[in-house]
C-alpha cells in the first residue's frame, strides 16, 4: 500500500506543477513586460523536469504542459506540445547520457530550451501558413525572450527541484557519485586504509 502511494506521489506532483506553472505564466508572468517582452517560464519548467526525472517523464510532462497551454490559450492544439516534448526529452537524455553536475547546467539548458521554443514556434507558424516576413524585430524579440528566460532558469530549476526532489526515486549513479566525493566507497582509499597508509594531504 505504501509502495503504491509512493509511486503515485511523483505523477501527482508533476500534474500539479504543470497546472500551477501554466496558471502563473498566463495570469501573471505573461502580463509583466520586461524590455518590451514577457518571460515564458513553461519551457524552463519542462526542461527542469527533464533534467531531474529523465527523458520519458520529461517528454510526457512536456506533452501535457504543452497541451494545457494550447487549451487554455485557445491556440492550434498540438503545436506547443510538439515543441515541449522535444525539450523534455532532450533535457532528460542530457541527464541520462552526460549526468551533468555543474551548478550552471540549468542556465545553459534553459537558454537552449527557450531558444528552441521561440524559434520552433516561429518555424511551425510559417509551416502552417502564417503570412509573415522574417523581420529583424521578430528575431530581436525572440533573442530578448531567450535572454530573460536564461536569467530565470536557475531560480525556476531550484524551485522545481525543491518541489519534486522529495518524491524522486534515488538514482544509483548519483548515490555512487555522492559516496565517492565523500570518500565513502572508493576502492583505492579502502585499499590504502587496509594497508595502513595515510593520504598525501594527511601527511
Amino acid at each position: 500500500m505504501t509502495e503504491v502511494k509512493d509511486k503515485v506521489k511523483l505523477p501527482l506532483r508533476l500534474i500539479l506543477l504543470a497546472f500551477v506553472a501554466v496558471l502563473v505564466q498566463e495570469s501573471a508572468v505573461s502580463q509583466i513586460s520586461i524590455f518590451g517582452v514577457s518571460a515564458d517560464i513553461t519551457p524552463l519548467v519542462v526542461m527542469s523536469v527533464g533534467l531531474l526525472c529523465g527523458s520519458m517523464t520529461g517528454a510526457v510532462f512536456g506533452f501535457g504542459t504543452g497541451l494545457l497551454i494550447d487549451l487554455v490559450l485557445v491556440q492550434t492544439l498540438g503545436v506547443t506540445s510538439l515543441l515541449y516534448i522535444v525539450i523534455g526529452y532532450w533535457a532528460g537524455r542530457l541527464r541520462e547520457l552526460r549526468d551533468p553536475s555543474h551548478e550552471l547546467v540549468p542556465l545553459a539548458a534553459g537558454a537552449v530550451a527557450a531558444a528552441f521554443a521561440g524559434l520552433g514556434m516561429a518555424l511551425i507558424q510559417f509551416l502552417l501558413g502564417v503570412d509573415a516576413p522574417v523581420s529583424l524585430l521578430l528575431l530581436q524579440q525572440i533573442f530578448v525572450v531567450v535572454l530573460v528566460d536564461t536569467l530565470l532558469a536557475l531560480p525556476v530549476h531550484a524551485l522545481v527541484r525543491r518541489i519534486i526532489r522529495p518524491v524522486l526515486p534515488e538514482d544509483p549513479r548519483r548515490r555512487r557519485r555522492r559516496a565517492y566525493t565523500t570518500g565513502g566507497l572508493s576502492p583505492l582509499q579502502q585499499g590504502a586504509a587496509r594497508r595502513g597508509l595515510t593520504s598525501r594531504t594527511a601527511r
Binding site: 505573461s30 502580463q31 487549451l71 485557445v74 492550434t76 502552417l128 503570412d131 509573415a132 523581420s135 521578430l138
Partner: protein, 299 residues
C-alpha cells in the same frame, strides 16, 4: 533489460509526437464549431474562474513588476510624448471647430445620439489571461455571453481599439488583438483626403500595423495625403466579407514615419497602435456595435 527500456522510451516518444501531429492536423482543418474547438471552449469555461482568482491573487506581484517596468519605459518616452502633445494640441484646436460644425450638421440629420461609445452598450472586462507568444496575440477577459458579449464585438482599451472577440463562453471571452494575423479593420487616416484602407498586422513586426490599399495622393497635393503622426480611426464600414463591423471614429493608432515610395508604389503605410497592446488590464467590449442601422435622411 536495457534494450527493453530503450524500446519503451522510443515507443513513448513516437506515440507522443504522433498524437501531437494528429491533434495539430485535425485542429487545423476543423471549423470553429467542431469537437476539438468545443473541448477547448469547455476548458476555458471551466478554468476561467480559477484564472480569475489567480489573476486577482497575483495582481500585487504583477503591479510591482509593472511599476518598475513602466518607470523605465516612461523615461524613454518623454521626448516622443512631448512632441506628440504639441502635435495633438494643434489637432485638437482644429477638431474642436470641426466638432461644433459637426454637431450642428448632425442635428439636422438626427444623428446626434449615435457617436459616443455609450451608445454601443460597453461592457467593462478585466484581462485574466495573456498569451505570451508573438504569434497568437490574444487575451482572455472575464466577461462572456452571460454579460451580453457576442462573437466579433469590438474591444477598446483606454486609448483606442485593441481587437475583437474571437471566442465566447458564458463566463469568459477570448480577444484577438488588432496585431493578430486573423484580424483586419477598415480604417481611415484623419488627413484632408480622409484616405481609407484595410489595416492588417505587420506580422513580422509584432507592434506595428500596415494600412493597405490606399489611393496614392496627387503628387502636386501631397500635403493633403497621410502624414506621420496623424491619427488613424475606424472607418465605420466593412470593406470585405471577412471584416468585423466596427463603429466609426474609434482611434486605432498614429501614422508612423514612412517613405513616400512606399505610399506611391505599394499604397501602404505603417501605423503604430494608440493603445499599448501589452500593458492594458481593463477593456470595454462594445456589445452593440451597430445600435441604429436606420438610414439617415435629410428632411
Amino acid at each position: 533489460m536495457h534494450d527493453k527500456q530503450v524500446r519503451r522510451r522510443r515507443a513513448v516518444l513516437i506515440l507522443l509526437v504522433a498524437v501531437s501531429l494528429i491533434l495539430l492536423t485535425a485542429y487545423f482543418g476543423e471549423t470553429p464549431t467542431s469537437p476539438l474547438h468545443s473541448v477547448q471552449r469547455g476548458v476555458v469555461e471551466v478554468l476561467s474562474p480559477v484564472e480569475q482568482g489567480a489573476s486577482t491573487v497575483l495582481a500585487p506581484v504583477r503591479d510591482g513588476a509593472g511599476w518598475i517596468s513602466d518607470t523605465l519605459h516612461a523615461k524613454s518616452q518623454v521626448k516622443t510624448l512631448r512632441a506628440q502633445v504639441q502635435n495633438l494640441t494643434s489637432q485638437l484646436a482644429q477638431a474642436k471647430g470641426a466638432q461644433l460644425q459637426n454637431g450642428q450638421l448632425s442635428h439636422l440629420v438626427h444623428l446626434d445620439n449615435s457617436i459616443g461609445v455609450s451608445a454601443f452598450h460597453p461592457v467593462t472586462a478585466q484581462v485574466i489571461v495573456r498569451d505570451p507568444t508573438l504569434w497568437y496575440q490574444t487575451v482572455t477577459v472575464d466577461k462572456g455571453s452571460d454579460d451580453g458579449v457576442h462573437l466579433n464585438d469590438p474591444v477598446i482599451a483606454d486609448k483606442g481599439l485593441v481587437g475583437e472577440i474571437s471566442e465566447v463562453s458564458p463566463t469568459a471571452s477570448v480577444v484577438s488583438l488588432i496585431t493578430d494575423h486573423t484580424v483586419s479593420v477598415t480604417a481611415r487616416v484623419t488627413d484632408v483626403n480622409a484616405d481609407t484602407g484595410e489595416l492588417v498586422p505587420a506580422v513580422g513586426s509584432p507592434n506595428q500595423l500596415l494600412l493597405q490599399y490606399l489611393q496614392p495622393p496627387n503628387p502636386s497635393q501631397i500635403q493633403n495625403g497621410p502624414q506621420a503622426g496623424q491619427l488613424v480611426v475606424t472607418a465605420g464600414f466593412r470593406s470585405g466579407a471577412g471584416d468585423s463591423y466596427y463603429p466609426a471614429n474609434i482611434p486605432i493608432g498614429f501614422v508612423a514615419q514612412f517613405k513616400e515610395d512606399q505610399l506611391f508604389n505599394d499604397g501602404q503605410i505603417q501605423v503604430t497602435p494608440a493603445a499599448d497592446l501589452r500593458r492594458f488590464d481593463v477593456v470595454q467590449i462594445l456589445t452593440a456595435p451597430h445600435p441604429g442601422l436606420e438610414r439617415a435622411q435629410v428632411p
